[in-house]
């Protein structure tokens, strides 16, 4: 039998002595000088490391482990050990842990799947145990943190209307504890239920609703969430998630520190939405309020915000990719006798619950006062020599609004002197130059701005138009080309370039751009119009006439098609017909203040052209 050398320690003192190991049938035999031969049965053996086939050395001991150890440094001995005492093998050691742990993982996953399929809702069940006072307190906190800095609306008339609506809905829902609605001044279209029977409605939602029924529908929907304890369950879920992440990430995630997590919990699942919708339909029916306006409201929302990313995460819109499906649900409710949710007067009151909107006159007066105040404040600073570039810019805008263009120009100059590198300042001054009809200066400022911010398409677009106004077609073309370099070629930019080509007499190029623009948007009136002008300039009056007819088909009442048609007819020597068309246009648009300008829109150009043509005929 092969034997191996090893070192033996008795566990009493930190000494060791040489021994020989033999793999006998009954067990591992350890023999040495001055040592009574030990025989350790193989099943009692333990080792300091799980043994792999390549483990070079090991400390062998017994499972009872009283400190008696044998250190063997011989891979052959290790291999023999693995064979005789398979419990020492690394694979066995790992399996003993991994198999139960994987079973545990599967159990957790299975439980999660099982819960979601069986309809058990542990978070909701637990939410039922939260006492009412706690819910209210929690709800108040959520409202506070969500609507921070936004005033609550409580105009008495509006409140009265809202209370009437809520009485009706609470009664219909058969609630012991009536729900309360708070309106906050917030432009966002949004509504949400918080724990404890409170619903928050934004003024933006009321403003965007077409009728009281859809507001009632939204409130009924949120009551549905409340009845299903969705807000409370969301809070519980948030807590459970944070506890679970603590557990499985072994404490590496942060603890729940603010209401933020609670709030994410307020976004519901689709199933939750369906439940709330079912409640809404039931409540509305019982309250004799039609469900169809709510359906229409969802469609409006879809149309307005559909596909827009980053809409508020708590908003009605979120997790509702199927707004259309929901709209169908409400639109397809069997009809029943319904009365409006609010009378016309009440609806008006509710719409002004955040205060009456200002009239145009009031707004203008407020603006004027604000400009005066700005000018006064900045002037004071200037006298004290504490004015900064921002102040000058502010006053420049105020002067500009007062049409004090030269004072405004001085302030812009000063602001630019103080802050030389702000492209927006140059653009602002360029705009002022435009007002002053100093187009070349406008172009200069825009050029500086573009130098500061070369990738701004907006600046370049402005310069292109300014150059067209100056009839610097080559320069304008350069900008147009730069703007149309990319993948995206908006049809209106193509049209602008075509216009430039037209003035450069590059008719082929103009035609190419117009064709692309028309392919993109078939009913593009200006593109049709320009095609007609290009044909005419190329000496093809018949084609020009055709295009003009097309333009008339797009918008019958527009002067563009008619004037172009008249031009074409003139070229075809049908002067009387043409003159009749011109006169028609002059008569139809006699109130228009359009004046001649080479880069005015085709619309203004056609009116001006008709007038000139008509008066020329009269003079003749």
């Amino acid at each position: 039998m092969k034997s191996y050398t090893a070192r033996y320690s008795d566990g009493q003192t930190a000494q060791s002595k040489p021994v020989t190991l033999r793999f006998a049938t009954q067990g591992l035999e350890i023999a040495g000088e001055g040592l009574q031969t030990l025989r350790w049965p193989y099943e009692t053996l333990a080792a300091n490391v799980p043994l792999t086939a390549s483990t070079p050395k090991a400390i062998v001991k017994q499972k009872s482990d009283l400190g008696v150890t044998v250190f063997v440094e011989d891979n052959a001995a290790i291999l023999a050990l693995r064979e005789k005492a398979p419990q020492l093998a690394a694979g066995r050691w790992r399996r003993a842990v991994v198999i139960p742990a994987v079973a545990f993982t599967l159990l957790i996953a299975g439980t999660a799947v099982g819960i979601s399929y069986s309809g058990l809702r542990p978070a909701k069940t637990m939410a039922g145990f939260i006492p009412q006072e706690a819910r209210v307190s929690l709800g108040n906190r959520v409202v506070k943190s969500l609507t921070r800095g936004r005033p609550r609306c409580s105009e008495p008339d509006g409140m009265a209307a809202l209370n009437r609506l809520m009485n009706r809905l609470n009664l219909a829902a058969g609630l012991e504890r009536p729900y309360e609605v708070r309106v906050v001044k917030w432009g966002l279209v949004n509504a949400f239920a918080v724990p404890g029977g409170t619903i928050v409605l934004t003024s933006g939602l009321i403003r965007n609703a077409r009728n009281p029924d859809s507001v009632a529908g939204v409130i009924a929907h949120e009551i549905g969430h409340g009845l299903e304890l969705h807000p409370e369950a969301g809070v519980i879920r948030a807590f459970g998630l944070s506890a679970a992440s603590e557990l499985f990430l072994a404490g590496s995630s942060g603890t729940l520190k603010n209401a933020g997590l609670i709030l994410t919990a307020l976004s519901y699942t689709r199933q939750g939405e369906r439940e709330a919708d079912a409640h809404a339909a039931r409540i509305l029916r019982k309250a004799s309020i039609s469900t169809k306006p709510l359906g229409q409201f969802f469609l409006d929302i879809e149309k307005r915000y559909g596909g827009k990313k980053g809409a508020n995460r708590f908003s009605l819109l979120r997790s509702h990719p199927e707004n259309k499906v929901r709209a169908a649900l409400f639109n397809n409710q069997p009809s029943y006798p319904a009365t409006p949710a609010l009378s016309a007067d009440e609806w008006k009151a509710l719409r002004t619950i955040c205060g009456k909107p200002l009239t145009a006159e009031q707004r203008r007066a407020r603006r004027v006062a604000r400009h005066r105040e700005t000018i006064r404040r900045v002037t004071e600073k200037v006298t004290k020599k504490t004015a900064k570039w921002r102040d000058y810019r502010e006053r420049a805008f105020a002067y500009q609004a007062q049409k004090n263009y030269y004072l405004a120009l001085q302030d812009f100059n000063k602001a630019i002197e103080l802050r030389t590198s702000d492209p927006n300042l140059f653009v602002a001054r360029a705009q002022l130059h435009y007002r002053l009809k100093a187009y070349d200066k406008q172009v200069d400022d825009l050029t500086t701005a573009i130098g500061l911010k070369p990738d701004s398409t907006w600046f370049r677009d402005r310069r292109a138009r300014a150059n067209m106004r100056l009839q610097r077609w080559e320069a304008a073309l350069e900008d147009h080309n730069a703007l149309l370099k990319g993948e995206k070629k908006p049809s209106w930019r193509l049209k602008n370039r075509a216009e430039t080509f037209f003035h450069l007499k590059r008719y082929e190029d103009a035609m190419r751009d117009l064709d692309v623009a028309l392919a993109q948007s078939k009913r593009y009136l200006a593109a049709r119009g320009w095609r007609s002008r290009v044909f005419l300039a190329q000496g093809k009056p018949q084609e020009a006439l055709g295009e003009a007819e097309e333009a008339i088909k797009i918008v019958a009442d527009s002067p563009i098609g008619k004037v172009l048609k008249a031009q074409a007819l003139e070229a075809l020597d049908r002067r009387d017909e043409a003159l009749a068309l011109y006169r028609g246009v002059v008569e139809r648009f006699k109130k228009s203040r359009a004046k001649f300008d080479p880069t005015l829109s085709l619309y203004a150009w056609s009116i001006v052209y008709a007038r000139n043509a008509a008066s020329a005929a009269d003079n003749r």
Binding site: S9, S16, G67, V98, A101, T105, S242
Partner: protein, 437 residues
């Protein structure tokens, strides 16, 4: 305080040696009069009975420029009791790359539950690569106890904190929240100190050599935790100048609680030598910060002046200058800091005594800085998967750079009868400060 701590181990030091389990005729005198073999030449293989230490500040380490170690009987006696000690690192045989990847896989399929066993197997391999007198250390901890320790800590610390903070967020008024948060911060800070101490004790008590356990005396974690907490609070007040003293005292508390077998370790150092290097860290840090700020500031100023009225245009070269300045400043600082810590390692080693032997260290700033940087890169580039490699390299660094001066009478080092600490490293783990991950 320093004097106290100095005396205590000194006074108690001889006791256990006299109670050695297999005494010769008169153990104490025998130790003193028996002539040891000549002390090992200084750069002999280094030995550290407790190479389990994860923190750079704690490991006893020899010094190349610290004050000369006090005289020992064994240094001068022609023959001293015991044998010279050889501490070596076993090259190869750990095969940690494959193990790390396997562990990663197993952790993923077990929702991280396997983590505790993965750690255990890594430790078993690393421990067995450290050899004393040619025989490996043994790690006797189990995955199960780490797991249970974690569950206990989760149940009695993490979950209650979570629940209370949740409830108080919802129902408490602002004052209650403030009081709770303050209490929580203090409690967590205290628990961090306790956790460091307990983790150290756990690892030591699971370290054996030739069947003999290392350990730490029971108790002491609370007082360590408080000391850790209030000295930490003083760091900003003293602008950092308390740090060397704090490091020394923390180390003293730790080392003086350690035993190997039935004999204690003693720490006899004080903080003076640490200050001799600390000033360089402190002033060097300030200077580097100011220097880097001036260079970058000047560059920006020049570019701004040149480009007026347009905004400064920074060329690629300018960015290279900025980045290089920052990286160089950081590397210089890292080196100064490593130089300081190497000094600590060497000095603490020279002041860590086991009977008549003490440690000696050869750590240098450059090698320590390289260890830091390379370990960081290994752990970072592998997204943490190869952290065990970094761990093994740290252990190797200590094993290769520490040695034992003087002889140890291993035949008289008996088994320690102390009970084994039951809990795992839960506290340390719950706050994620376990240097050995």
């Amino acid at each position: 305080m320093i004097d106290d701590s100095d005396r205590k181990p000194g006074a108690g030091g001889a006791g256990p040696w006299e109670r050695a389990s297999q005494p010769p005729a008169s153990p104490a005198s025998a130790l003193e009069t028996q002539s040891p073999p000549p002390p090992p030449s200084t750069p002999a293989a280094s030995a550290q009975p407790a190479p389990v230490q994860g923190e750079a500040a704690h490991p006893p380490a020899p010094s190349q420029d610290g004050p000369p170690p006090p005289r020992f009987a064994s240094d001068t006696d022609p023959v001293a009791a015991g044998e010279p000690v050889a501490l070596t690192w076993d090259r190869g045989g750990t095969q940690l790359v494959m193990l790390s990847l396997l562990n990663l896989f197993l952790r993923i399929i077990t929702l991280n539950v396997y983590n505790f066993w993965a750690k255990t197997e890594v430790r078993k391999r690393i421990w067995s690569s450290v050899r004393l007198q040619g025989e490996p250390l043994e790690y006797t901890g189990t995955g199960k106890e780490l797991f249970l320790g974690f569950l206990i800590i989760f149940g009695i610390v993490v979950l209650p904190i979570l629940i209370v903070s949740f409830v108080i967020q919802i129902f408490g008024n602002p004052v209650a929240v403030l009081i709770f948060n303050l209490t929580l911060y203090i409690a967590v800070a205290l628990l961090i100190g306790m956790g460091i101490y307990r983790a150290q004790r756990f690892r030591l008590s699971r370290t054996r050599w030739r069947g003999i356990h290392a350990s730490m005396k029971p108790g002491g974690s609370m007082s360590y935790g408080w000391f850790y907490l209030w000295t930490a609070a003083l760091i900003p007040i003293t602008a950092g100048w308390i740090i060397p003293w704090r490091t020394t005292e923390l180390n003293r508390r730790m080392v003086n609680a350690m035993t190997f077998g039935n004999r204690p370790l003693r720490f006899t150092g004080d903080c003076g030598p640490l200050y001799r290097r600390y000033w360089a860290v402190w002033f060097g840090g300030q200077l580097l910060f100011i220097g880097a700020a001036v260079i970058i500031g000047l560059l920006f100023f020049e570019r701004f002046k040149a480009s007026r009225p347009l905004p400064p245009k920074l060329e690629t070269l300018d960015w290279v200058i900025v980045v290089v300045t920052l990286v160089v400043a950081y590397l210089i600082y890292a080196f100064i800091s490593a130089w300081y810590r190497a000094g600590i390692i060497n000095y603490f080693a020279s002041q860590t005594r086991y009977g008549r032997a003490h440690f000696a260290g050869r750590a240098t700033g450059l090698s320590l800085a390289w260890l830091d940087v390379s370990n960081f890169l290994i752990a970072f580039l592998s997204l943490g998967a190869l952290a065990p490699i970094a761990q093994a390299r740290t252990m190797r660094y200590y094993a290769m750079n520490l040695s034992v001066v003087g002889a140890v009478p291993f035949d008289r080092v008996g088994q320690n009868e102390d009970t084994v600490l039951q809990r795992g490293e839960g506290l340390a783990q719950a706050f994620d400060i376990d240097a050995f991950g």
